[in-house]
Subunit: 381 residues, 2 copies
């Protein structure tokens, strides 16, 4: 496996633990902080790859669990790998399927050597071992891959948590051993360990011992209180200086910005595309719901200074109409705007880190955003 | 209204009544024969305007009935017209709503001065007069517009047909009178008259007397036998030499090609986008159903010489996967291919007319297409 990824920390913010890093992958250099849109089934829902290139997206996430079930990783291998299959020539990260097994499947049962689960598609039974998960991701030929892990919920009992973390660690080691020596794929370690500083720290230290070029933080932002989320991120991320830190499944503007302040480098989430399909768009003043009657004759763009394709060409009134008429184009235009919003927000973060003004940038962004969201929730937006 | 549209017949095919014409509109010169994709609700379903520009689509059709109900023509007027509202800077034709009133609405009742109907959206009651339909289309500010007409089904009794045609003619006159003198919009007359040569011919003659810059043929391809469809088209279209002839709602490759051979200039249909959403794509060898198991590992494009975006970048295996996974991108990529297919077919017709070889082109295209479709229906495709 690719162990030497030439990881470099280019800038450190003077006001927070925020940082700019870069490292090499099989499809170019990844610069962080970065938000990765999710293309669950080898497509970012309702978007073409050109629409994503246009936003200057450099890396996508795709889901091992979904691709294994449909169309099957062997087919993607025959197609020449996921990049060729889906016509995406930039970087791809795939997850291990762990999260989906524990959240989507009707049944899942952890065994010593892997996890048994039922497909969410047709109820068929499957078994993932650490080696199987690596083999699937080898077939996908994504650039950054994840080891099989055990995902835990907030509220899991300490003894279950302990044994889950041990399983995650054992599987991480097995995954590393399963990697081919000449592979160009980068395997991250996934930090589990529950919702305590100590549990997380122990897991991280053991992963460091096994040795990985990068580290993911898993099972956070899964329903625990915001202060616990924040405390763990703030405690763990700054301890990792020898590789990129990826906070899995986080896409809320607040959490991304806080994560960056603690030294998190990579984020992914279905949020921007999912809420876009559900008629909700990001603005600097919080989220807005496009089907609101007040936009019926609003011929201005979603955000007047936004440079995305949607805002350059379409009005709120048009988007509202598309949503009301259940037109697919609404999802496309909404997703473009929402992905562009997060991309631009993270670019702004990067610039602020360079200037050493990240704390100010973050606080001002969050204040404006949350103030707007509060107003919306009180039905004024 | 715009009466002098500088209509010219540029070429006449020597082997059929096929012809190349052109005329001017408020958004440029329209060259025919032409296929117009349908953007029912101010969007060609699942496609951006750039994707349509890329196929070199010059004119879209949009539906008065739908736009009147949602978002409402007054809103589109306030937006600056349909072109601005939907961000389309080429030509737009709108229909009169007649077809939708008679096919979509739960209730419709013809009165002397118009037609009463219930909205297919919410059951609310509405009343269209000839003047109202012109006023709506004035608000939309489309380039080519249609008068209110009475649509009839195959099998309508002669006396009902007679009175329907008379109503259509009276309304056509009223619509013409309702046009503003300085308008840049072009109003066509709609030829009704049922499923006999005589009925159609009489209607056409009376429309010619009223005087229109172009003529539509309505209520054809509505379930009547193919030979009746063909006989009427063959009889009526060649009689019109003083303006473009538009055969409403026709999008099947066979019928378009036959129509062109009789001198029809313009076609529209939801077919290419509708079947694309339903996993069916056009090929020169007939339609194929992408979810077919045989495409699971077919890494070739839908058609190997096709120059559309979809065929240049994606395999049948990828499209099949998207359809199986219910991904919206399937509809987008499928629609692009199908619209491109018809556009290219009509471009080929134009070239053949120039060369005086249209009959050969048409027969060879239809033979290959129908042979393939026959094979498919016998489950071999």
């Amino acid at each position: 496996m690719l162990e030497n990824i030439d990881f470099e920390i280019l800038h450190k913010d003077s006001s927070t633990n925020g940082r700019i890093t870069r490292f090499k992958t099989g499809h170019g250099i990844l610069e962080t902080p970065v938000f990765m849109p999710v293309g669950t089934c080898a497509t970012v829902k309702s978007c073409t790859v050109e629409q994503l290139y246009d936003i200057d997206i450099t890396i996508l996430l795709s889901n091992t669990y979904h691709l294994y079930l449909q169309p099957g990783d062997e087919i993607i291998k025959e197609a020449g790998g996921l990049h060729t299959f889906m016509n995406w020539n930039r970087m791809i990260l795939t997850d291990s399927g762990g999260f989906q097994i524990f959240s989507l499947s009707d049944m899942n049962k952890i065994h010593t050597n892997g996890v048994e689960f039922k497909s969410f598609r047709d109820g068929s039974k499957h078994f993932f071992t650490p080696e199987k998960v690596i083999s699937i991701q080898n077939n996908l030929n994504s650039d950054i891959i994840m080891p099989l892990d055990v995902c835990t919920e907030y509220g899991t009992k300490p003894d279950v948590m302990k044994s889950s973390t041990n399983t995650t660690l054992r599987w991480a080691k097995q995954c590393k051993e399963a990697m081919k020596e000449n592979s160009h794929q980068i395997l991250f370690g996934i930090i589990q360990g529950g919702f305590t500083r100590q549990g997380r720290e122990e897991c991280m230290e053991q992963l460091q011992e096994i040795g990985f070029p990068g580290f993911s933080i898993g099972s956070l932002s899964v329903g625990e209180p915001r202060d616990i989320y924040e405390d763990i991120t703030a405690h763990i991320a700054p301890k990792i200086s020898n590789g990129p830190v990826y906070l899995m499944g986080v896409g809320d503007p607040y959490k991304i910005l806080k994560g960056i302040s603690h030294g998190v480098d990579m984020f992914d989430c279905v949020l921007p595309t999912r809420i876009a399909r559900n008629r909700t768009l990001f603005t600097h003043d919080g989220k807005i719901t496009l089907t609101n009657k007040k936009y019926e004759r609003d011929f201005t763009p979603v955000e007047k200074n936004c440079t995305c394709y949607t805002c350059r060409n379409y009005s709120k009134a048009y988007l509202r109409h598309l949503y009301k008429a259940n037109e697919m184009l609404a999802s496309t235009l909404g997703s473009i705007h929402n992905i562009h919003f997060l991309k631009t927000m993270v670019d702004g973060a990067k610039n602020a880190i360079k200037d050493g003004t990240y704390r100010k940038y973050m606080n001002s962004f969050i204040d404006q955003y949350e103030e707007g969201d509060k107003l919306r929730k009180s039905n004024l937006r």
